[in-house]
């Protein structure tokens, strides 16, 4: 699997797995995600309810807490943005 972010490969792997598990995407499909792959608005599986499930599952697996006022369109715009956000929470 291609590692896009130096030092955050564990977080990146977790984000890929959560997207696959919650949205029911194939492993091949999420393995092909790059930093620029668009998510919200581009993946029909990722509706607003699924966003809530993805974020809550990320919290559980990474042991992080995401405040509701931190959730915006930007962090979900691309795969890279979501990994950066999750890494910022998990690696501090």
């Amino acid at each position: 699997m291609l590692v896009i972010f130096e030092g955050t490969s564990q977080v990146e792997t977790t984000v890929r797995a959560v997207l696959a598990d919650i949205l029911g995407l194939s492993a091949d499909r999420v393995a092909a995600f790059t930093a620029d792959t668009p998510l919200f608005g581009a993946l029909p599986e990722l509706d607003s309810m699924a966003v809530a499930s993805v974020l809550t599952e990320l919290e559980d697996r990474l042991g992080i807490l995401i405040e509701d006022d931190e959730i915006d369109g930007e962090m979900l715009e691309t795969f890279g943005a979501l990994v950066t956000f999750a890494a910022g929470k998990a690696l501090v």
């Binding site: 919650i22 509706d47 809530a52 042991g63």
Partner: protein, 218 residues
Amino acid sequence: MTGLRFQHYDWAGGREAMLRFGPDAGPIALAALPLFEEANRTRQFACTILRALAERGIGSVLPDFPGTGESLVATADATLSDQRQAYSALAQQLGADIYALSIRSGALLEGDATLAGRWHLSPQSGEELVRDLERARAAAGRAEGDYAGNRLSSERIAALREAVPRGDGRCRIIRLDTDPRAADATYPGVPLWRRSEPDNNIELAQKLAADIAHWIAA
């Protein structure tokens, strides 16, 4: 008679339906699905576990509680207290050798029921449940009190928020191997309760049925 039966049970506030699997004699697993949306995502999976338990000679029930499934009580009118009363009444009617098989927030319904043991799959506290509900509500842009179509009063939310699964007595906690929290055992699998489209996992259901059967027999 070990095929699937449709039965009912009575509690102080009325009558609710239940599915019954496996033998009537011996230990009985009392299954409780998660509350609200997660119930729809786990019902088929729970039935697969109960069928696998029946194949191992263990009987089980999958009841509705007030405000869930085919209940005549509207979701908005159901209270956690009523659901716990119904759970306790059912446990008492089933007999002495009753084991809770609770999935996620289903563990919150056990309350003060007399049980021989508690088996919890990825148990969720009321506080975590309310957090999930609030987040889903906000994400869907719903009005306050409207949780994915469920109208829940502020009193109900407050009661749920304070509820915690009981861990006393004979208790076994199972989690998926992706969940870092403490557990007695973990198994590989995806969290079906959070899937956007309902799914099943027959292999995991069979492993969990084996886990439950060994635990009851131990």
